[in-house]
């Protein structure tokens, strides 16, 4: 899949790219889609009240009023959804003395909770702005003393419990009840096991360990509550994995784990890692996350599938400089707060996005057939939208249109469901055409049986005849299957390079036939994405490496074979690979993924057979005992690895030398003119 990513990056038009968005396919590559959201309006402060200065949080209440934590101005600004300022909390007159408020939450009745970060407290105000109560640092033995109370973001559930992110406290969200009592931490992030780190720490001295610093789990940057369904959504910063979590009120993450929700990309030599800083959930369960490193907005469905991405870095409307907060209003508009610009951009979903949301909502509810219509419209707008193809496939599957479902799952790049549809299709085919299929299968079975019998008979005949008569190369190939010991004897007595070339080409041909003709639901290497040089070298390099190292080892271990002999024998020993690969390719078109075991078994048998042939080859050609053969093979493999390492080192060295000369040439070229 990396191949696709680079393919798209390499040839994407360098300029005159129209403003479009993209979606991230489950495999990680980008799908171009029409722009998902357009800017409806921009909310700034106004001349009378002053502009925003480094605002850090945004909240939209049940009446669609917009609250902005105007952090550097030490105030909270309340606006209507068009940006008209209705009220300012934290003015000179109201004596609230807010200091760098970084978080805001408003209850349905209009009560305002402010994370007054600079004053280490949470302030609860009435809708009119009167102070109702203050929450200060709760006291409990369970609280880590290293993290003084510094509330940054907060959310309230219906029972009045506050879920507070506390500075860089990594223990989880603090739960504080209405009496300012600490109820415990909820939803801690766990540290993933890291082998490199483990080894480093295991063997480091105490001083070195201290110098490394303490590794702590990533902390929740932001928290959002979905009061209807009782979920807490959090955004986790500075992590590569699981940037978004969805906790039920027991503190268990119910969102798909071990996934990347942000993007990590290296483009034009610039590395950008994800930094998800806020999430919002709309009434249909569509999750919107904002990444302040990429300056993009990512949308996901309830199953963690990426729906679309838009935004990016830029000083134009629809782009961001430092987006820090996102919220939905009841109309479906998306509001994004930009800290550096000091403004809120309100986005309206375009037609395509509405369709995607509609389809994905119905799909998440399992209403596949109702989702068919929106998904069909999505495909008519963007025929590459993978989730839509999957949705259509599911609906067709429900309608028992197996063949059509297969086509859609193929376009939706969904192996599992393709296989299911194929299974049903196969079943149907068998039911309707049982007679013909049974007959054909019987004919093929009988044919195969007699072919093997005939070849075996031919092999016996060849064995009886003296070596070197007839077509020895062909005879040896047959013998390599039916009587490998005799085959290797004969090869040793008359090795031929011609046969080696033919067989090596045969290996490659088998591999490419596998790439091109393996059925979609088994095919891990598709012709569109495969790399020619990689495919060739992964077969050729081990082959020659083993032949060379086996020759080297046998020649110092009282062996009797020459390089040419070993090489020729190795080529013959690869015949089972050719047969096995072809059989596997054929079977992939008949099996479903439920029968993956059979498919894999063919592979395993093939490799065992090749292994056995190699074993016999070494043993027979050098007159070794069994134990010595094992020993020689182990040594050969180790030698091969050593040779490979030396080869890589040499390659790197040569590259450096070439680079050096290029540089010198460049220098001369620049100065010379």
């Amino acid at each position: 899949m990396i191949a696709i990513a680079s393919l798209f990056a390499g040839t994407a038009a360098a300029y005159a790219v129209p403003a479009t968005g993209y979606a991230i396919a489950p495999e990680g590559y980008h799908i171009a889609v029409p722009l998902g959201y357009s800017v409806e309006r921009v909310l700034t402060g106004d001349y009378a009240h002053g502009m925003f200065k480094n605002p850090e949080d945004l909240f939209i209440d049940a009446k669609d009023q917009v609250y902005v934590a105007d952090t550097a101005n030490n105030r909270i600004v309340k606006m209507d959804k068009f940006g008209k300022i209705l009220k300012v909390f934290g003015t000179k007159d109201d004596k609230l003395n807010l200091m760098e408020p970084r978080g805001i939450f408003v209850e349905d009745d209009g009560d305002v909770y402010i994370a007054d970060t600079g004053n280490n407290r949470i302030v609860h105000l009435s809708p009119a702005g009167e102070l109702i109560e203050k929450f200060i640092a709760p006291e409990s033995d369970l609280i880590d003393k290293d993290f003084p109370f510094m509330p940054t973001k907060l959310a309230l559930d219906r029972n009045g419990n506050m879920y507070v992110t506390n500075g860089s406290d990594y223990h989880g969200l603090m739960v504080i009840d209405g009496h300012n009592e600490f109820q415990g931490y909820i939803a801690p992030n766990k540290l993933k096991f890291n082998l490199k780190d483990y080894i480093l720490r295991k063997y480091a001295t105490k001083e070195q360990r201290e110098a490394l610093g303490k590794v702590v789990p990533p902390n929740h940057r932001n928290v959002t509550i979905d009061q209807k369904n009782g979920f807490l959504y959090t955004a986790i910063e500075n992590t590569m994995l699981d940037e978004i979590k969805r906790f039920n009120l027991l503190g268990i993450n119910t969102y798909p784990v071990d996934r990347q929700y942000g993007e990590f990309n290296v483009r034009r030599g610039v590395t950008t890692s994800p930094n998800v800083v806020d999430v919002a959930v709309d009434k249909d369960g569509i999750i919107t996350a904002v990444d302040s490193n990429h300056r993009k907005i990512y949308q996901f469905d309830q199953e963690g599938n990426n729906l679309l991405v838009f935004g990016g870095n830029g000083d134009q409307t629809g782009f961001f400089q430092e987006p820090v907060s996102v919220a939905n209003d009841s109309e479906g508009l998306l509001y994004v707060l930009d800290r550096a610009r000091g403004e809120v951009q309100a986005f309206r979903a375009n037609h395509f996005t509405s369709l995607v949301h509609n389809g994905s909502e119905l799909f998440s509810d399992g209403r596949y057939e109702e989702a068919l219509e929106p998904w069909r419209q999505v495909v008519s707008i963007d025929s590459n939208y993978i989730l839509a193809h999957r949705g259509i496939g599911k609906a067709l599957y429900k309608q028992q249109q197996w063949k059509a479902a297969m086509t859609e799952f193929r376009l939706g790049e969904d192996m599992g469901n393709y296989s299911n549809a194929f299974r049903e299709y196969r079943h149907e085919l068998l039911r309707h055409q049982f007679g013909w299929i049974a007959l054909a299968a019987a004919a093929v079975g009988v044919g195969l049986y007699y072919a093997i019998v005939a070849l075996n008979g031919y092999a016996r005949k060849v064995l009886a005849a003296p070596a070197g008569s007839g077509y020895p190369s062909f005879q040896n190939a047959i013998l390599a299957i039916f009587a490998p010991r005799e085959a290797f004897y004969r090869i040793q007595s008359a090795p031929r390079y011609g046969a080696v070339i033919v067989l090596v080409l045969g290996i490659l041909a088998a591999r490419f036939i596998q790439i091109y003709f393996t059925s979609f639901h088994f095919n891990m290497t598709r012709p569109e994405f495969a790399d020619f040089y990689f495919e060739v070298s992964q077969l050729i390099v081990p082959f020659f490496l083993f032949a060379a190292s086996a020759w080297m080892i046998t020649s110092i271990m009282d062996g009797e074979s020459k390089f040419k002999q070993i090489l020729a024998a190795c080529a013959y020993a690869a015949i089972p690979y050719i047969i096995g690969t072809l059989v596997q390719t054929l079977m992939s078109n008949l099996l479903t993924r439920d029968e993956l075991a059979i498919y894999d078994m063919i592979g395993t048998v093939t490799y065992c057979w090749v292994g056995l042939s190699l074993f016999l080859l070494i043993m027979v050609m050098n007159d070794y005992s069994v134990s010595k053969t094992v020993w020689v093979i182990v040594l050969s493999v180790l030698t091969a690895i050593a040779l490979l390492l030396v080869g890589i080192l040499f390659y790197v060295l040569v590259q450096h030398v070439i680079d050096f000369f290029k540089e010198v040439f460049l220098e001369l070229y620049i100065r010379g003119f």
Binding site: V33, T317, N350, Y669
Partner: protein
């Protein structure tokens, strides 16, 4: 023995030379000029009293008068003022604003009153940073002499060793500013980079009423307003687009297609355009809130460019060119009558200039009453596969012909068709081959198609790209054939994959048979990619070309193609193509959308409509909002534009073109096309040959376009109905007043 003494002597000599070399290197001193050492004292800035009086016309003297305009000159700072008797407006080179309202540092305060800003660089330093000053902070020695209808001012920045002259003259309705390249003198290592003349003419405070116009994409305006945040960037656009075409990252920006800008302030306005030297000009707009609270718009004349010189592989240092580009710069400010002071008036004045000077050729007969449908047909592309690159047949020539037949039968009479990816390597394997793809039907089927188009008076263009080039197609002559930067390294993208062809090499190849080959297909014309979108200076050793020179070569190619085929089309609308092209593509129907821009306006369309057919940059079938795009066509007078295929786009899903096209079958889109074509032509067909003479913003999301015959089109993008005095327009709809 003699030999031995020889040997010793030689050794001593060699060692001595080595020691001398080492000594020299250890004590190497970079030549510094006066500025670095502070040997010469900074001349004191112009005194505060004089600066404060610059907004008072009493301190100026009259130097020219033509009945309508009077030119004034202030001798100490060389400030300029123009009084327009017809409107009563007084345009001054010094901004009239209090220090308090302005904000910002002393340099900036001086800068908004200065008649010119200057950028220079010190060549003796290891890194050449742009150094910015103005004629008030660092007052030059000023000498003025009267010339016909104006004044010639000689500026001598003695301390920097840079001097040049500026001529200000007035014409009937205009002020002309000329900076003759021959007047520029440099005596030290300080090198002149750019001169921004009259940066504050027409500048508006937050309390003034009006707006600035600048040529971002189709055109953009920014209103003077009190409520604005502090901006981190200003609009600064090289005319005809940035030269960093291959290193561009992220943000998409539109070109400044026209070298024009304007101001509308308190009911009067001017439009300014560069008439000479526009290839080396930058248009600046500083919104209020960018460093100071003042809206300023200006043109900046460039004489050198900065570039990244390779120190070693992967390491660069900013350098400035050693040689000055001897380009004369001439800019014209046209002061507009009261009723023409808006951006539509600016467009009318600029169009009149272009037509007068022959820079805009009229290609549409006045009596044409049909808006053609712009249809791109995507034919083929190569797909990477593990064993070979396979050519994907998306639309064959025969299928394309049946499309045209079907559309014709459905009543689509006028069409302007482009074939993309028709050549043997398909779309996007640059530079394009001139051979028709066999898989699509070969030359015979292609001529069949073009013959059909000719017989039915359908314009059919063959898309062709001989600007871009991929490394794999260049072979060993790469260094000969490609464009280079001042550092003598080839211009390439980050991956060393994408290059640009040297324009002269491209021309030679085109003249040497390629053009003939293309003409042999019998199409109405060739559609050239890129040539109207980018302009680059090329430092190729064999064929070095200035920006203007490179463009001239491309224009030669276009003229040749036009001669051979009858017509020529081009992508992009940089103003130099307007005198040659018969059809424009990729004309943005909007601006970049910079945060400080308030509205996109169809300035480019106002200039071109009725003269050259143009289509937008996004086809209907991939646009995110079909209704919005249709309304844009109506407002901007653009051809309806589609890009269609026979095969479903799933076919080329694994090629780069899946980023461009993801819904395109003729089957799906032709009913839409026919319906929209008929609707547009039924209501607006008669406007096709006419100029757009007016454009207004009626209210939020409601715009009015006016044609020469008085037809008015009111477009409502909003979600609420619009009710005007004589027309009501439902939401997402348009209405027509005749």
């Amino acid at each position: 023995m003699l030999r031995r003494s020889w040997r010793i002597g030689l050794w001593v000599l060699v060692l001595g030379l080595c020691a001398f070399g080492v000594y020299k290197m250890e004590h190497y001193q970079i030549e510094r000029n006066a500025l670095g050492d502070g040997k010469v004292e900074d001349p004191a800035p112009v005194s505060k009293e004089i600066v404060d009086k610059l907004s008072d016309i009493a301190s100026y003297r009259q130097v020219a008068d033509n009945g309508r305009l009077t030119l004034f000159f202030e001798p100490v700072t060389s400030s300029i003022a123009v009084r327009d008797r017809s409107t009563g407006a007084l345009w001054m080179s010094a901004a009239n604003i209090s220090d308090e309202a302005l904000g910002g540092s002393e340099l900036l305060k001086n800068s908004v009153r200065a008649p010119l800003n200057m950028t220079y660089a010190d060549f003796s330093r290891p890194v050449h940073d742009p150094l910015i000053t103005n004629s008030i902070t660092l007052p030059p020695k000023i000498a003025s002499e009267s010339i016909d209808r104006g004044i010639r001012v000689r500026y001598d920045f003695e301390k920097l060793g840079i001097s040049f002259a500026v001529e200000y003259t007035i014409g009937e309705d205009r002020l002309e500013v000329l900076v003759p390249a021959s007047s520029i003198k440099e005596t030290t290592s300080n090198l002149l980079v750019s001169i921004e003349v009259l940066p504050n003419l027409g500048s508006g405070t937050d309390q003034d009423k009006g707006y600035m116009f600048y040529p971002d994409g189709s055109g953009a305006i920014s209103n003077f307003k009190e409520t604005h945040p502090a901006y981190k960037d200003k609009y600064t656009a090289t005319v005809y687009g940035s030269e960093e075409v291959l290193k561009r990252t992220g943000q998409r920006t539109e070109n400044a297609y026209l070298p024009v800008f304007g101001a509308n302030k308190n009911g009067s306005g001017f439009v300014a355009f560069v008439t000479e030297g526009e290839f080396e000009t930058v248009i600046n707009y500083s919104p209020s809130g960018y460093t100071v609270n003042l809206n300023r718009v200006s043109g900046e004349f460039f004489y050198r460019r900065f570039y990244d010189a390779a120190i070693r592989r992967g390491e660069f240092s900013q350098r400035v060119e050693r040689d000055l580009m001897p380009v004369d710069h001439r800019m014209r400010y046209v002061f507009l009558p009261k009723d023409q002071s808006d951006y539509a008036g600016m467009a009318n004045a600029y169009r009149a200039y272009l037509l007068d000077s022959g820079k805009l050729a009229s290609r549409i007969p006045q009596d044409r009453r049909q808006i053609p449908a712009a249809v791109d047909l995507f034919m083929g592309i190569k797909e990477d596969s593990v064993l070979r690159k396979q050519f994907l047949t998306v639309t064959t020539f025969a299928q394309a012909k049946s499309f045209l037949e079907e559309m014709k039968a459905a009543g689509v009479d006028a069409m302007s068709v482009m074939l993309r990816g028709w050549m043997k390597d398909g779309e996007g394997d640059y530079p394009d081959s001139d051979q028709a793809a066999g898989a699509l039907g070969g030359k015979s089927k292609l001529t069949d198609l073009t013959q059909y188009a000719k017989d039915n008076r359908i314009d059919l263009f063959l898309n062709f790209n001989n600007v871009d080039a991929f490394a794999r197609n260049l072979g060993f002559r790469k260094n000969l054939d490609v464009m280079k930067s001042p550092s003598k390294l080839a211009l390439e993208d980050y991956y060393g994959f994408w290059y640009l062809l040297n324009a002269e090499r491209a021309r030679l190849k085109f003249a040497g048979g390629q053009g003939e080959q293309l003409a042999g297909y019998g199409a109405s014309g060739i559609d050239f990619e890129e040539m109207g979108q980018i302009a680059l200076a090329d430092f190729n050793e064999y064929h070095p070309l200035t920006r203007e020179g490179a463009v001239e070569k491309w224009l030669e190619i276009m003229r040749q193609a036009r001669e051979q085929n009858g017509k020529v089309a081009v992508h992009g609308g940089n103003s130099y193509v307007l005198g040659t092209a018969d059809r424009l593509s990729d004309i943005p129907l909007g601006d970049t959308g910079f945060v400080y821009s308030d509205e996109a306006v169809p300035f480019f369309q106002m200039v071109v409509h009725g003269h050259i057919p143009y289509s937008g940059d996004v086809p209907m079938n991939t646009h995110y909002d079909a209704r919005e795009l249709f309304l844009k066509w109506v407002e901007y007078g653009s051809m309806p534009f589609y890009e269609l295929t026979q095969a479903s786009p799933e076919k080329f899903r694994y090629t780069f073109y899946s980023d461009e096209l993801f819904s395109s079958t003729f089957e799906q889109w032709s009913p839409v096309l026919v319906q929209q074509y008929k609707e547009l032509n039924g209501k607006l067909g008669h406007t096709w040959g006419q100029e757009i003479v007016g454009h207004r913003i009626l209210s939020r999301d409601v715009y009015e376009t006016e044609y020469a015959d008085g037809t008015k089109v009111v477009v409502n993008y909003g979600s609420v109905p619009y009710k005007g005095s004589d027309i009501a327009v439902p939401p997402k709809d348009y209405g027509i007043l005749k």
